[in-house]
């Protein structure tokens, strides 16, 4: 489902214009981003939780240079699906690749 499909479907079920849906979605996304940027997590009922996690420094071996390297810490976004979503999609037939 592309962003366009998402907007079409939202407009349909909320009975608002696509432009409005799009603008609200922009606001929603920018607020999500702002929160995650500050390292603040949030949950959306039935959908799931978004939060950030700091990946620790790690030592790796680079076989090309035959040297050890240190990978710096990194802050990443983590998503864990809510129970409803998890259960809903658990056994749906998909292209399992």
């Amino acid at each position: 489902m592309t962003n366009k499909d998402l907007i079409d479907r939202l407009a349909e079920s909320l009975d608002v214009t696509k432009t409005d849906v799009q603008n609200v979605l922009k606001g929603v996304v920018s607020e999500f981003t702002n929160h995650l940027e500050d390292g603040v997590g949030f949950s959306i009922p039935d959908l799931g939780t978004f939060k950030t996690r700091i990946k620790e420094v790690q030592k790796i071996y680079n076989p090309h240079y035959k040297k050890y390297m240190l990978v710096p810490p990194k802050r990443v976004v983590e998503f864990s699906p809510g129970k409803t979503l998890k259960e809903a999609v658990k056994f749906t037939e998909n292209d399992h690749e």
Partner: protein, 170 residues
Amino acid sequence: MSEKTTYYELLDRIADTSDQSRDFLESYMKELTTIVEEGLTKDGEVRIAGFGKLELRWMQERAGVNPQTGEEITIPGQNKVSFKPYKNLREQVNRPYSQMKVELLERDKTKTPGGGNPKRPVETSSQKKSSREEDKQQNERLGVDEVRILVEDEEGPLVLERLSPLQNNS
């Protein structure tokens, strides 16, 4: 870093920025959730512009153990929802660390395996210390926790001489 905001605080913030009522946003989010679920069931993925992509990943059937009884069980294959943030989100979230680069580790010649006496002139070690101090202060300014820079393996300690300077370009 494990701060969390409540759903209603989040909705209030969105209501402020997008100039919509909270009631409308509540139904909007509910509908969004339903449609995301629908999209995942139907297409196996949902893309949200400027944010990221939610997709299904098929987890193969695997063997497991019931931790309570120790009995061996088979965990059936199932779908997992994974989220891949888009580049702009990844970069924005990682901004405090973005100045740090992958570093080469050199073996510290002054230290022998098993933590022997470091034969390092006093002058150098104090210099080193001060540069570490600078790093630490810079880290604090940027709100980054102090980074552990010592790693050890069976041949002795590996020491990173200095982390790349953390510069705040913004």
